[in-house]
């Protein structure tokens, strides 16, 4: 996902002279092509994320479209106040890109995990939260984000995730993408965890359960019409995220559901990460199994709930 992001940015950089890339000393070699083509619009801001966000705000107030990029915890929790005030309160079009989101860098330890970023970003006024699911979706999401007139949080995975979109999909902020059609269960998947949802739908099919999978890439603004239709149709609506269950996408859906004050005859099942620091060493697939957000665990739990 990150390589596609860098590649798409290189293309956009050539077309759009307003784009300015601000890296907080990360992405070694990743942006070489971009830098070569747009040397005057790339700044390594150093390991100084607060200043990076402020700079981005100032550039945006002068007509540029800055992109602030580093590993997710360092561009979210580390600089939450700068994002809140400099970007959201001032309401400027800056894209905050977190790379290695969720448990992408599981083996690096909790300092490099981000399982609360969706929570804190979606509670900021004016903020849009985008979580692309694969490399091609990331390309489309980047182009959409650059057209949006306001701050955007862009939650990237790492590299070499499975590709589900053959081409760059038509990406519209707030418009979920249906990946597979189904009848019984709908899995609303957010961001980089999509492969587990896709595999779970296959496992469910083997057990005679028809599952629809949706890439619900925009956590904010939440598409309420889509949720209404989904909860009206399916027996089970599952939310899936590589993120803490507290306050994340599943919470957003639960909040919406309660505020609807309506009986949908549909059960909400939330899949996410437990409220803990994950200190056991292991790579992303291991971490997903630990938190029961891998395809096998997802399918098992859905079948259990269906019964």
């Amino acid at each position: 996902m990150r390589n596609a992001f860098a590649d798409e940015l290189t293309k956009i950089g050539k077309e759009n002279e307003k784009v300015v890339m601000l890296s907080a000393d990360i992405g070694n070699r990743l942006f070489d092509n971009y830098k070569e083509k747009n040397p005057e619009r790339f700044y390594n801001c150093g390991v100084a994320e607060q200043n990076t966000i402020g700079l981005a705000a100032g550039l945006a107030m002068s007509g540029f479209r800055p992109i602030a990029y580093t590993i997710t915890p360092f561009i979210t929790t580390r600089v939450y106040q700068q994002i809140r005030i400099d970007l959201c309160y001032n309401n400027v079009p800056v894209i905050v890109v977190g790379v290695g989101s969720g448990l992408s860098y599981s083996e690096l330890g909790p300092t490099h995990h981000s399982t609360e970023d969706i929570t804190i970003m979606r509670t900021l006024p004016n903020m849009t939260v985008l979580c692309p699911a694969d490399a091609n979706e990331a390309r489309g999401a980047l182009r959409a984000a650059l057209k949006h007139d306001g701050p955007v949080y862009f939650r990237l995975g790492k590299k070499n995730e499975p590709l589900f979109h053959k081409d760059v999909p038509k990406f519209e902020i707030g418009k979920p993408i249906v990946m597979t059609q189904g009848e019984d269960v709908c899995i609303l998947s957010v961001g980089n965890i999509l492969p587990e949802a896709m595999d779970a739908s296959k496992l469910l099919k083997e057990k005679g359960v028809s599952a629809q999978v949706v890439s619900f890439h925009t956590v904010k603004p939440l598409n309420k019409d889509f949720l209404k239709k989904t909860f009206s149709k399916f027996k089970i609506v599952a939310t899936l995220e590589e993120h803490n269950l507290k306050g994340g996408f599943g919470s957003a859906v639960a909040e919406w559901l309660i505020d609807e004050e309506k009986d949908y005859n549909s059960k909400l099942v939330r899949f996410g990460v437990k409220d803990m620091f994950f200190t056991i060493i292991g790579k992303q697939p291991f971490a997903r199994k630990y938190f029961n957000i891998d395809s096998v665990s997802i399918a098992k739990r859905i079948i259990k709930v269906l019964k």
Binding site: N51, G54, A56, G58, G63, Q82, N90
Partner: protein, 278 residues
């Protein structure tokens, strides 16, 4: 440059500074809003900037082609409001609504609340990074306009200030002029005792900035220093302006109680008398 030559002299800036000080005391009383001492120490700096130095378009204050000013010490909001109103950015009568219900004049400036204020401040250490972004944009667009950022000494406790200090130096942002309102106090004590701030000028010098130290209440010295800052030095510039918290009102000067205290009606009258306004 200022289009009104009548207000360009030291005498006239001193005169308007007195009017602004009187207004600030009144605003604090009427709005029951704190930070009067912090506002009073900025008045002469703001006077020199707005009546002598800044090349701004009052009708289009956010113009990228013109100088920009950021009040990074947002708790001195009343001072920027009063300055802008006296300068004609918006009607004086708006100042009477300061810190009152339904007013746009918040105790810490909201973004674009009034013409002349684009950036939200109030949390310290935000103004300089944003100012650098504007300055960087000017460099990229080859605009000659400059960016002025007014900070407090307490604000230099914030790490973000020093992140910005390094970025400005490494990127040779000589179109940035920062001013520190060095009134030697922060919210709860002496700024040099709470954290080791001194030697402040030397710190900035070692961070790669052109540094100047002035009496922040000496209009002539402020003018001379600001007018002589080189335009293509390849270095950002900072003025450490030695000021007095509560400046201009004898019973408020260098008394940190006025960080939070609100003047009574009697005190307002006393202050105005001292300033020669009544």
């Amino acid at each position: 440059m200022n289009k009104n030559p009548k207000l360009n002299s030291v005498y006239d800036i001193e005169k308007v500074a007195k009017q602004i000080r009187g207004k600030l005391v009144e605003m604090s009383h009427k709005g029951k809003a704190a930070h009067l001492g912090s506002a009073l120490s900025t008045v002469d700096i703001l006077g020199v900037l707005f009546w002598r130095i800044l090349d701004m378009d009052i009708k289009n204050p956010d113009s990228e082609k013109k100088d920009r000013f950021i009040l990074s010490k947002g708790h001195a909001a009343s001072a920027i409001y009063a300055t802008l109103a006296h300068k004609g950015f918006f009607p004086m009568k708006l100042l009477d609504t300061y810190a009152k219900e339904q007013s746009c004049l918040c105790e810490h400036p909201a973004p674009s609340c009034v013409p002349g204020v684009r950036v939200a401040t109030g949390s310290l250490g935000h103004g300089l990074p944003i100012g650098l972004g504007m300055a960087l944009a000017n460099k990229m667009k080859e605009n000659n306009a400059r960016v002025f950022v007014l900070m407090s000494d307490g604000e230099c406790n914030e790490g973000s200030v020093w992140e910005a200090a390094m970025f400005a130096a490494s990127n040779k942002l000589d179109n940035v002029i920062a001013i520190i309102d060095y009134n030697k106090w922060q919210a709860t004590g002496r700024s040099n005792e709470i954290l080791a701030l001194a030697p402040l000028k030397e710190k900035w010098e070692k961070f790669g900035w052109n540094t100047y130290e002035v009496d922040g209440h000496n209009i002539n010295e402020l003018i001379q220093t600001l007018e002589n800052i080189p335009k293509n030095s390849k270095k950002p510039s900072i003025i450490v302006a030695n000021t007095v918290k509560g400046k201009g009102i004898s019973f408020m000067e260098d008394d940190n109680n006025w960080h939070y205290r609100i003047p009574t009606e009697e005190e307002v009258q006393k202050a105005k008398k001292e300033l020669g306004l009544i």
